[in-house]
Amino acid sequence: MASYYQLEFEKPVVEIEQRIAELEQKARRAGAPPAEAPAYPGIETPEAEPLPDPAAIAVEIERLREQREAELARVYSSLSPRDTVLVARHPKRPQTRDYVELMCKDFCELHGDRRFGDDPAMVVGFARIGSTKVLVVGHYKGRTTKERIACHFGCAHPEGYRKALAKMKLAEKFGLPIVTFVDTPGAYPGIGAEQRGQAEAIAVNLREMSRLKTPIVSIVIGEGGSGGALGIAVADRVAMLEHAWYSVISPEGCAAILWKQANDQTNQLAAQALKLTARDNLELGIIDAIVPEPPGGAHRDPQRAAANIERWITDQLHELRSVNPSTLPARRYERFRKLGSYTEVPVG
């Protein structure tokens, strides 16, 4: 059984997994056919311990597996907001490139913003989902350490947002729907990023995405941090994976500002206060759907997570295909226009 980066709350599950692994090892020894064992006839092979009954082991393993499934489902159905953030950041959690590989055919990657450079933290390209041709846009954190550093751990620079927008306009011209995967702790805060207009790049994306005359569907697959996330998420339909998070700031950033310090305790309080889980965002009307993850999170079964996402995307694209593209911006406007909470007394 694959070993996973161990999250504190997964401990009971990991313990069961270890016991299963031990038993499996035992079963292999027990299951070795004794008939062919004597390599040297006449010499007794020493039997230190009596061989356990393979059938009994199999039953026990089966029982433990069921227990593991139940425990996983139990743990993952009641994740605290802080735990959700940790799952969303799990190093083995599938990323944009993984989903592209798992659900797309014929991925044709497009690079560069034609202004400054090519940002590896933003992946853009044409692809087919089922029989539908789309443009895929997504943040990318990187898999290897080297890649992660090059991608600034999923924090895109202005050139990333500009690349995304340039290709989205291309998609509009070609009449291709746009699918975006959101997975960033936030846009990169650095000297170069500021110099080249990080704020302007995001702002322009918000404005331009709102008026693209082609269907846009977005899904937050991991982290949805602030304007850096929204910069590719002004869409007709927005969903979140079950254990993703999406809010105005990361819990650590929020804790550092409002609690004056980020530590375990304040991070937990901030995660709670920020209403960043998929369920919270659905209640607030910020997203339209929650896409379920396999038990134990997307990292335990990327294929199934990809299949769930693909089904949601396909359904949305099917629905949006019946809408006249020229009316999409007005509908998209209404979707975002109504968000917010205030009271109003008539003034006369």
């Binding site: 846009a187 990169y188 805060p189 650095g190 000297i191 990023a193 500021e194 110099q195 080249r196 207009g197 990080q198 704020a199 302007e200 995001i202 702002a203 322009v204 918000l206 404005r207 331009e208 709102s210 008026r211 602030s226 304007g227 929204l230 910069g231 002004v234 999406y246 809010s247 105005v248 700031i249 950033g253 929020c254 500002i257 409002l258 609690w259 004056k260 309080l269 901030a270 206060a273 920020l274 209403k275 960043l276 919270d280 965002n281 607030l284 910020i286 911006p329 998209r332 406007y333 975002f336 226009r337 968000l339 917010g340 909470s341 205030y342 009271t343 109003e344 007394v345 008539p346 003034v347």
Partner: protein
């Protein structure tokens, strides 16, 4: 009118403006030049230091008073007031914080909007108020900004938004984030309608406000030495663990990196706005 030659940020030295607090009393020490200045003289000079031109931070009411022709301002959307949709609580509850800020400032939230004349030109004016929760954008600010944009679009009025803000308001979390999309989308419609949007950036303008409507002006003006950026200097420093270049994220630096059209002293703001309105033909 001739513009003073743009100083490079290296020339601006460490005389960068600090906190906005204007101490009580007849005299005050200017944070820009360290001189003792007569308070009334500073206030009569549009809250700008007569010695070194340090621009003090001002609230929305004072800003409107400075920008609009006398008696021309007609406030709008004044019935809007904030709620606490998430029952947010940090060291203090958001509900208590709102109340305290409302008592302190006499404002309902961090925005003042309305129609006005600027040197005889009709305009839609919308001003963020730094004195109220650092001018942060929650639902009320987002709604008032959006309605200002919509009003400008419908009535074919030039739109002037004066920003001064710490960014999106954390206490409304995701809903604040959505105000960025809402206001930017409204600007797309103003743009489609051929409208004019002049964005004025004042000290400081950062975060979600910069990353939405504030940087989307057809023409962008910045007040001298105003801090303008996406991330705050502290966050950047913590991320890259290097000293930041001098004058980094100040208005003059943004002018050099091509992010704003002009650095305009407060005293010239009205005439510069009027000039752009005339050129736009609105």
């Amino acid at each position: 009118m001739t513009q003073a030659p743009a100083k490079s940020w290296t020339e601006l030295k460490a005389q960068t403006p600090r906190k906005n607090s204007i101490p009580e009393g007849l005299w005050l020490r200017c944070p820009g030049c360290g001189q003792m200045i007569y308070r009334k003289q500073m206030e009569a000079n549009l809250h700008v230091c007569p010695e070194c031109q340090h621009h003090y931070r001002i609230g929305a009411v004072e800003r409107v008073r400075q920008m609009a022709d006398p008696g021309s301002f007609e406030p709008m959307f004044t019935g809007l007031s904030p709620t606490d949709p998430l029952a947010f609580r940090d060291l203090k509850s958001y509900a208590d914080r709102l109340l305290a800020e409302q008592i302190k400032t006499g404002q309902v939230d961090a925005v003042v909007a309305g129609t006005a004349f600027v040197k005889g030109r009709a305009a839609m004016l919308c001003v963020l108020d730094l004195s109220f929760m650092m001018g942060s954008m929650g639902s009320v600010v987002g709604e008032a900004v959006t309605r200002s944009i919509e009003t400008a679009t419908e009535r074919n009025l030039p739109l002037v938004i004066v920003s001064g803000s710490g960014g999106a308001r954390m206490q409304e979390a995701g809903l604040s984030l959505m105000q960025m999309a809402k206001t930017s989308a409204a600007l797309a419609r103003l743009d489609d309608a051929g409208g004019l949007f002049i964005s004025v950036l004042t000290d400081p303008t950062t975060g979600g406000v910069t990353a939405s409507f504030a940087m989307l002006g057809d023409v962008i003006f910045a007040e001298p030495k105003a801090l303008i950026g996406f991330a705050g200097p502290r966050v950047i420093q913590q991320t890259i663990r290097q000293e930041l270049p001098e004058g980094f994220q100040r208005a003059e630096y943004l002018l050099q990196s091509g992010m704003v059209d002009r650095v305009v002293p407060r005293a010239e703001l009205r005439s510069e706005i009027a000039r752009v309105i005339d050129y736009s033909g609105r």
